[in-house]
């Protein structure tokens, strides 16, 4: 594989996803400047790996690299932000029970849906930022970047079942957070 081929592949495989890469990096790092650093770093990694790129979904491939790069970057620069996996597991299971109650407990009209419809961009953004990282990533990949479950599973490196439960929890947390503003 010559350098020219790699250059052409880089243009074809990486460049079209720069917007997605930047958006994901910005959500993970919470900063535009940091997102630019992460994307540059990720593109370098992608360029080095591109000779061995085996085909398949280029967007998922690129976003996987971006996400890993972003977490490596955060661990190096801001170690406190990354939550330990143990914490996350306890959050996921604690929320599972709560979610079931909230879904079965409501039979009336839908005040939350109305509040969400009225929530402004800043409020939505703040609520997403407040989510635990794994929930936030899953939600952003699905509801902002439009990936399907299989792609999200590839990017976040978990089974599709975990994507489903994280996505449902993430949405329920957002809904609860926004509904709580009104109380």
């Amino acid at each position: 594989m010559s350098g020219d081929d790699n250059t052409a592949r880089f243009e074809r495989i990486v460049q079209p996803h720069l917007g997605d890469a930047y958006a994901l990096a910005r959500w993970i790092t919470g900063s535009r400047a940091d997102a630019e650093d992460v994307v540059q770093d990720a593109c370098l990694r992608a360029f080095r790996a591109i000779g061995g790129y085996a085909g398949g979904n280029t967007r998922a491939w690129m976003l996987t690299i971006v996400r890993n790069t972003a977490y490596t970057w955060l661990a190096r620069n801001r170690s406190a932000v990354v939550m330990a996996v143990d914490d996350l597991v306890s959050i996921e299971s604690a929320n599972a029970g709560q979610a079931a109650t909230s879904a079965s407990g409501r039979y009336d009209a839908n005040p939350e849906a109305e509040l969400i419809a009225k929530a402004d961009a800043a409020r939505l953004e703040a609520a997403i930022t407040a989510l635990p990282p794994q929930f936030r990533d899953t939600l952003v990949l699905r509801d902002i970047q439009g990936l399907d479950y299989r792609e999200i599973a590839a990017v976040t490196e978990v089974p599709v079942g975990t994507v489903m439960s994280r996505l449902a929890r993430a949405r329920q947390r957002l809904i609860e957070a926004i509904a709580a503003d009104d109380r």
Partner: protein, 255 residues
């Protein structure tokens, strides 16, 4: 946790909730989708969950569209990977990128000295996008005959969503949309069909071709026209008469 590690569900209620979310996301196979649809119809709690999820998705789509990458980032990435050999034609985005980069590069050295002259033309890039789409498993990244699905799909991906019109009555059903890259700028392409032929309609910002041109490139018919600051390129292996009919209909249709 006692259940399987892959799905953190604790009971049936919770599992049903996941299915409602997956249903809203269009991720269920037809049999499961019908089953959950029936349950939503008969169980108010599930209907409420569905309404909440849909409201949330709509709010996120409308109020938090994906922020595009800064123009300068694209060039920085190229520089970082040592890919600065061909130079795009100076569309406004490339100009903005160059300007930002000139400011950035003035402190770091000889970026302009490394720039050789101009690369490929717009028609070549448009044809390349069409050919790639024909070779791909799907000619469109978003496959839908509904313009109200196709148009919003673009808005998260490119700065300017294209005009999408419904021409199914005229025998040109919408197949979907995709993002092509012309002059290193992501641009929207709509895909329509006519019998077995596909038509790609690519909208390139601010690259005037005068009123209207048609040409044949590599055996494909192309018709270009400029409207609203965009140049539209229709490309297809369809005969020129029908392709012209398509462009007339597209231009005349209300958005």
């Amino acid at each position: 946790m006692t259940g399987p590690m892959t799905v953190d569900t604790h009971d049936n209620n919770d599992r049903t909730t996941l299915l409602v979310h997956a249903y809203v996301d269009g991720e269920l196979d037809p049999a499961n989708a019908i089953a959950i649809e029936q349950r939503i119809a008969s169980e108010p709690a599930l209907a409420a969950e569905r309404a909440r999820v849909e409201a949330l998705r709509r709010a996120l789509r409308e109020r938090l569209p994906q922020e595009p990458a800064p123009a300068a980032l694209r060039e920085k990435v190229r520089r970082a990977a040592g890919l600065t050999r061909q130079r795009a034609q100076p569309t406004w985005m490339a100009l903005a990128a160059s300007l930002a980069l000139a400011i950035f590069a003035s402190s770091t050295g000889t970026w302009y000295a490394m720039q050789p002259p101009v690369g490929g033309s717009v028609p070549d890039a448009v044809i390349a996008g069409h050919l790639r789409a024909l070779m791909a498993p799907q000619p469109a990244d978003v496959a839908s005959s509904d313009r109200h699905t196709v148009k919003p799909w673009f808005s998260g991906r490119i700065p300017l969503a294209p005009r999408v019109v419904d021409l199914v009555q005229d025998g040109f059903p919408l197949v979907g949309g995709r993002v092509d890259v012309v002059n290193r700028t992501p641009v929207p392409s709509l895909v329509y069909s006519r019998r077995q032929h596909l038509i790609s309609l690519t909208a390139v910002p601010n690259a005037s071709v005068g009123n209207r041109t048609s040409q044949t490139v590599q055996g494909y018919n192309m018709i270009a026209w400029t409207a609203d600051g965009m140049t539209y390129w229709a490309v297809s292996d369809l005969n020129l008469q029908e392709l012209e009919m398509f462009t007339r209909l597209f231009r005349a249709a209300p958005s």
